[in-house]
Symmetry: C2
Subunit: 585 residues, 2 copies
């Protein structure tokens, strides 16, 4: 028996176009490397290597018949055959191993019988910064906002550094069983309804809510956004209001109750009489699938390249697999964000079926233990190979308790964690930057006076806005490629349960970011941080600097162990650029 | 979005015969369970459920057409349709869910397109206790031992509690380049040679070394062993001495050097001139494979059902996959132990190709950190699904440093760890129970005066033998089914780096074993142990007992935190039977 040893064989290939790729594995025995290794050992042990030189000559001759370096190889064949004094030493000092590695003897190659597909997305799949906005709240006070009003906020969003503007459904909203303010059962005449209650006499999923504007207005918004480097993402919510044209034209796509009425959505004891779910078990599923696909195709034709998909886990999984592949056959640039807040297995399955990104549990992960465990799973386990997290500290549906209770420090903390833990993250604004923290009721995680049910008049320029904090975070993201990926994320020891410390870095260590966050929004917290300097490319025996990119100060550190203190009311998070040697970076 | 929740769906099936099985997965939506869940919620919220009862009637009627319980189901169909007062409450209190679960609506079943094979072995694959013995050392002093001499030791082995007796190769041993005592290059005329140097004029892998006896003698040994519940395992070492008949009859099965001689085994700078490796890259591989398979078939015909395979990782992997399948086509009872001390990937690959058990790194894992990490990997990661570890504290090739330095306490410790961490383990004896600890040289992990090169005269009845310790461990193993599997292994917190604590238990918690080991063979060690009592089936609010199965004493404990102290010179390991309530067990 030989003693155990560990070695990883890793292969890489560069992908130079977006779309489908396939790969497999091949293995062969490197007879020359084995021989060279043995020769080295024998020379070191002063053994006779005459026979080895002859064996080596045969190996090199085999390659010399076809290799690009054939002239040099033939030279070595003759020298090895000569078995002259000094040949072995010359071989050991030569670049023969490099040349031979270029001409491997692959006659006995083992080819893996399986071929793996991999889909290559454009870079925004990996690194994106989202802002969710209700255009109807962008108008003058007392007026229903339009796409044109929304366009006026584009400079604000660009200034904050967002590159995806995601709009809740822009389609006509039903009136039957329309919900009133604060999710009440009866709507007043002036109530605007929930954008997810899609469809009215004015049209369904391919139509635009008349109060928002026309298709031309939408395209103008897209064009203007593009000039600011912002893409518009649309919501794909495959459900219908009772007034949706499908209800009349395709009643077979809905489930009927024994009394002949259509079954509305339920999550007992909750009832959603304003929403009819689509019955994916319908016998007419082929026509249904074709129609739903045509909805997405229609918007792709209008220039939409990003979809946020509402509750995909409540629809048939084979539909998504087929529909995403069909869209990708027509346009490889299209990205899909899965809003599946459900069990991990299902979230991961949707990623494997083709969804580009997914919402995550970040929204409810607050303690050091929770954050370290969850993000270690997402970035270090096999999950990282197929699942791209998109981190949201809030959504129109979710005002987490941590934000309700923690005030401005909590809002600053949670967005800073999202922006640095996740290469992709998003906020629902302006509720976020205005630190809107009033729930509908104590103990509930829903917004009071939710924008889902009414038009809001936001004080965009409020002096209490944390827009500048967010703008700074997004600027840091843009300038630091270490934050454009998640694989390098590593948590580090810090002797305070309220302090979280982690780094991200580029493969070449050219950019190293260290984040230290105070998870306690109420009190000062301090602790000693332990950094594995060598893995960060820092010489542990020389001084180095950490530049606080938010406070524009820097600290001179020496060695792996350093003191950190954070006052949440002043600055709940340090985002440090680690600079190996003063003068760099 | 719904809030995240975790649920595992687990399916099981019983296997009632040894051999090949295939399985797949099917999934369907349980419409009735969904309905029942909704009804429960709506009743709790005092909602009108008239429509729900009609929907439920349709679901039950669907099942009533075919179900075994059809009479009862029809009764419920009529009651549900009646929508009478109290029906809903009666349904909730009924066993309708159980009946409906027996008749699932599988019209929309999703069947996984893949079918997985699984090989089911006899129980000894999972739970086995091995003893490696050189029969030639079983004779009278000054005489070469025979199978008949070996048979005389069977009562001793049975008394120690071993159920597999593994013999090093029993074939004729070559004389050309035979190694002398202590692995010297030149053998004296009386030197007996290495059993792994297989083949001489007297025959090859199907022959028996004449000094051991005849085929009839071997079969007599097997028969006598069987009466003691002991199976004989043979060594499969596919390599040849220069005197092996294959060298003349099939020179094409060996690699030739440029001077026409056959290439002997090398691990530069080490040379093994007495061993010719077989060239699995030979063009004549089909005849080679057939011949090697015929060797194993021959011994299976002689009643051998267990093979220990020497260095399988240095032979072609497709050969093993094919050969093991071929043997299993003829006899499903045959087990294969892989002696592959190599990289984990290769060890695991051999397990997937068909090897029943494998040697492990246990031999070199000594510290708490090493043992906890390694056995957590083997028993809690996916490795446990395909890899069955067999733990050896020593082998004729390996006298680990821990045994050289630690004296009798180390020998007692390491065999107790092997016997309780591994459902299968083995020792090379009598070197083990006699605590033979002299290496060939300081810093080497090989035996001095190794039995590989000479006949040993063992003092089987030495007063210093730890045979009784081993017999007690093996008796505990037999009596405690918790030790017959590895999946339940869990390590527990104990506040001393020299103390290791772990439990194993049966699924029904009917048998719970707690081991606390002092890893320090020199000094007393004590600490406080923390046990998760509920997961062991122990009521944390009642006293319980731990019975020391080695010392035949017991302790009354209360709560999860208890004090343990171990003097290595007296008893380095506690093996406790955890008894929930005094009077049991």
């Amino acid at each position: 028996p030989c003693s155990p040893r560990q070695r990883s064989l890793v292969g890489t290939f560069a992908v130079d176009r977006v779309g489908p790729w396939r790969y497999t594995f091949a293995g062969w025995i490197d007879g020359f490397a084995t021989w060279f290794h043995g020769l080295t050992k024998k020379m070191a042990a002063d053994q006779d290597v005459t026979m080895d030189l002859l064996i080596g000559a045969d190996l090199v001759e085999q390659a010399a018949h076809t290799a690009a370096d054939r002239d040099v190889l033939w030279y070595w064949v003759h020298r090895l055959r000569s078995a002259a004094v000094g040949v072995a030493a010359d071989v050991l000092a030569s670049d023969l191993p490099t040349m031979m590695a270029r001409s491997p003897d692959r006659r006995l190659t083992s080819l893996c019988p399986q071929i793996w597909p991999v889909w290559v997305d454009r870079a925004k799949a990996r690194y994106s910064t989202w802002y969710e906005l209700f255009p109807r709240s962008c108008g003058e006070p007392g007026h229903h906002g339009t796409f044109a009003d929304c366009a006026k906020q584009l400079p604000y969003l660009a200034n904050l550094g967002f590159d995806v503007l995601y709009l809740p459904p822009i389609h006509p909203i039903g009136t039957t069983f329309r919900k009133g303010k604060n999710n009440t059962l009866t709507a007043a005449p002036e109530d605007v309804g929930v954008p997810w209650g899609i469809g009215s006499a004015e049209g369904g999923h391919k139509a635009i809510h008349p109060q928002l504007g026309t298709l031309a207005d939408f395209r103008a918004l897209q064009a203007k956004a593009a000039t600011s480097g912002i893409e518009i993402a649309l919501d794909v919510a495959f459900q219908c209001s009772p007034d949706h044209p499908y209800v009349q034209s395709h009643p077979q796509w809905f489930r009927h109750r024994p009394d002949g009425t259509i079954q509305y959505a339920e999550n007992p004891p909750k009832k959603y009489q304003d929403i009819y779910p689509i019955d994916f078990e319908t016998d007419d599923w082929e026509n249904l699938w074709a129609e739903l696909l045509s909805v997405m195709e229609y918007w792709v034709q209008q220039g939409v390249k990003i979809f946020r998909v509402d509750n995909p886990h409540t629809k048939a999984f084979p539909f998504w697999e087929w529909a995403i592949a069909e869209i990708h056959r027509r346009d490889r640039e299209v990205l899909f964000l899965s809003e599946a807040f459900t069990r991990p297995k299902l979230m991961y399955r949707l990623a494997k079926l083709g969804f580009t990104q997914s919402y995550t549990y970040f929204t409810w992960r607050n303690t050091k233990w929770e954050l370290e465990n969850y993000f270690t799973e997402l970035t270090q386990s096999p999950v990282r190979e197929f699942f791209r997290p998109n981190l949201w500290p809030n959504t129109p549906d979710i005002l987490p308790e941590a934000l309700q209770k923690g005030g401005e420090p909590a809002f600053k903390l949670r967005v800073a964690l999202a922006a640095t833990l996740g290469a992709s993250y998003g906020i629902y604004g302006p509720a976020y930057e205005l630190c809107e923290n009033r729930p509908i009721a104590e103990g509930k995680e829903e917004y009071g006076h939710s924008e889902k049910y009414e038009i809001k008049a936001w004080d965009w320029q409020s002096p209490h806005s944390i827009a500048r904090w967010i703008a700074a975070l997004n600027r840091i993201r843009r300038e630091h490629p270490a934050l454009h990926r998640n694989e390098s994320l590593r948590f580090h020891a810090i002797d305070n349960e309220q302090l979280l410390a982690y780094t991200k870095q580029t493969d070449d260590l050219g950019d190293v970011i260290l984040v230290v966050a105070n998870l306690d929004p109420f009190a000062n917290q301090a602790g000693w941080l332990d950094l594995p300097l060598e893995s960060l490319g820092v010489d542990p025996y020389r001084p180095y600097q950490v530049h606080d990119l938010l406070a524009h100060t820097h600290y001179d550190w020496y060695g792996g162990r350093n003191y950190v203190e954070l006052n949440p009311h002043h600055q709940p998070v340090h985002v440090f650029h680690v600079v190996s040697s003063p003068g760099h970076g």
